[in-house]
Amino acid sequence: MSYDRFAQDLDGVVSRRAFIKTGAAAGGGLLLSLSLPGLGRAAAIGDVGDWAPNAFVRIGRDGQIVLTMPYVEMGQGTYTSIPMLIAEELEVDLKQVQLEHAPPNEKLYGNPLLGVQATGNSNAIRGAWQPLRQAGATARTMLVSAAAKRWNVDPASCRAQSGEVLHAPTGRSAKYGELAADASHMPVPESVVLKRPEDFKLIGTPAKRLDAPFKVNGTAVYGIDVRPPGVKIATLAQSPVFGGRVKNVDDAAAKAVNGVRQIVRLDDAVAVVADHMGAAKKGLAALVIEWDDGPHAKLNTEDIARELDQATLNSGPVAQNVGDIDRAMASAVIKVEATYQVPFLAHATMEPMNCTVDVRKDGCEVWVGSQALARVQAAAAKTAGLPLDKVVVHDHLIGGGFGRRLEIDGVIRAVQIAQHVDGPVKVVWTREEDIQHDMYRPYWFDRMSAGLDEKGMPVAWNHRFAGSSVIARWLPPAFNNGLDPDTTEGAIDLVYALPNMRVEYLRVEPPGIPTAFWRSVGPSHNVFVTESFMDELAAAAKQDPVAYRRALLDKAPRAKAVLELAAEKAGWGQPLPKRVGRGVAVQFVFATYMAQVAEVEVSRDGTVRVRRVVCAVDCGTVVNPDTVRAQIQSAIIFGVTAALYGEITLKDGRVEQTNFDSYQILRIDEAPAIEVHIVQSSEPPGGMGEAGTSAIVPAVTNAVFAATGKRLRKLPIDTTALKQPA
């Protein structure tokens, strides 16, 4: 019972009280565990003694239905959509279920599409679609069998509904709780038949978020909110240059601050431990730290950009090769060339990085909101020098992930500090520390060239780019022959019919700045480049951007359909005022087809305002349509922020941005109107959390081109270049 509360002291679906109640009622309940593809765990049924946390469904004798969530909730609605999958087949109402976080366990809760226990890559529903519906169906089948046996009737004459098994001919019924003990002794069905889509009651309907009530009254507990008894609060200063060291610390003034308890000096950081964050921050400000900046003391962003630019002058590992690019280019009537650049980006989650740790001689407890729980446990164990089973991790709601909380740098740091502290300590990053010691979306540099035929259509497409591979560090087995599936997603397998195409990627790791996943990662860069360049080709061919793309989509009907839908709903082609333009982008990433049309106004001083965005999406089967809309709205705002403002720069090895004044986030008065149009589909579900972010960026920059004639090949948008000449 080490993974616990989501909300404090309230009745509801996800409370500690509910969990304890279920635990106490465990005797004789039904445990259902199931195997995820490739993870080799046979389904097993047992009684209370077997109640290891390797289950997705648990039904107590008292009727409590507890669903264990293998994916973490960070706003994307997974705590609603995953229960929908299980409840659909289990035949229970969402209001009947309780949720709990899965504990760290790579084997049981590994993401089938990543092979590790992690929430990311917009693949929770994709990974859960089959196995978690099967989990529900298997449990239901066994409950029905138990009821049929008890009543001595044919299971086929019984049906399950709203947490009960009913036998209509005799009017008998039994609640799941009454059947759980018997069901645990029923044979596990070899296979179960999943519902046909037309029989879905929950899937495809807009379900209410199960986590929302706690998030409107202040009771939701995020990692930063935990308060184990006796907890102290620490904040920290890490070497302002990555790779630097602490040379000297004068902590006399800091120690004199009322409420400061202790100063912890590490090799490359200093922490102030206090009774409360006010004292800790005051103590931090009073520290006089002398740093040895190390090897990156002179590093500037321009140095990194230049290195990447140079790298693309040479060929690299080929991610995709179609046809004969050289011959096609030689025969082209028109040639188009361009280079593109995208900057380092911080995550700037609203909940600053934090981690609470209690290191004792015989064990360690960690409280944190993480996208990769098993990694948290492993990192804490390694840092504290303890065996894995001595580390207890309490997972919590996440106040924004976007890839930041797939990393365990913060956990390692907190454990390092906690090793010097008696009792639990909550380490909280200031916003400045959070932005200046993030792990950043990589800088990428792209070299594009294309050849067009006499009609202006592309006969050759050449794309070479350089930058960091996050996968190579984070999931080395997935980095092969110099390539990985994330860094190249959105650059290869384009929706368009391109008869000759070559995509090359050169892995160049920048010195002195760590990189990491960031909402939509590879596509956040590649879709900007490919959809901007496609727009350039349309312009070179003197053709309408929508018509040009449409002509290349005959073999991609789903892509064509979303393009046509978005264009129609956006009123593509209808006249607009001066310095207002529409831009379009089409993509197939995260297994979802999407087209967006952005309408942008560029003022005389160059300021870009995104007025309206129309998005058409075909993400296959929709589980929760309201979540699909919410995620697209969210992803678009996230992408507009990146297009207009997002940029982390280094000067003398230091990140120049510090807080929300220098690292701006879009605000409500700048937010566009957003329309989402969902294409009905019975294809398997695609990913939803990130696709909207990659599509919006080129839609915006293409719209700026339409409004001003200025092509933007570097992000964020440089408004000085868009000023109207006097």
Binding site: V216, M277, G278, E351, A635, D661, L666, R667
Partner: protein, 159 residues
């Protein structure tokens, strides 16, 4: 030194330096963690509370400046008519995502509605542009404020 402040109708005492921000007194001393830390510089609005009904960034409000003002936090905003309407609209329209900024959003929106029962889009921009939401729930925040405003208007409820 000791300060006495009134939080959600309850008198409380705290012994901290006079320049300690109210945010940390609420979160770390009183354990009222509904009010969130986002930036520490009044740039994001996550820490918004009410002082005598006025939306206030608690991260830059020192404890010695609170005086006799009534402090209201997210934990008690549901007891006010405007707060209740805002919370209901937030749930009806499924505003929240990660939810971390929403305490502050709701406090700003409740203060707006309490003083301006029928805010225009421009009023909403003015009152809410100090609150950042990284999940980008702005479209729904705007709709929810308008819906909450309708709840307060019998004339509109008819329709």
């Amino acid at each position: 030194m000791a300060f006495k402040i009134r939080v959600n109708g309850v008198d409380r005492t705290v012994d901290v330096d006079s320049d300690t921000p109210l945010l940390w007194v609420l979160r770390d001393v009183f354990g009222m963690t509904g009010t969130k830390f986002g930036c520490g510089m009044a740039l994001c609005g996550a820490c918004t509370v009410h002082l005598d009904g006025a939306p206030t960034r608690s991260c830059i409000t020192t404890i010695d400046s609170v005086g006799s003002a009534a402090v209201t936090t997210i934990e008690a905003i549901g007891d006010t008519p405007a707060g209740q309407k805002i919370q209901k609209a937030w749930l009806d329209l499924e505003v929240v995502q990660c939810g971390y900024c929403q305490s502050g959003q709701i406090m700003s929106a409740s203060a707006l509605l309490a003083t301006n029962p029928h805010p225009s889009d421009a009023d909403i921009d003015d009152a809410m542009s100090g609150n950042i939401c990284r999940c980008g729930t702005y479209v729904r925040i705007r709709e929810a404020i308008k819906q909450a405003a309708q709840l307060s208007s019998p004339a509109v409820q008819r329709g």
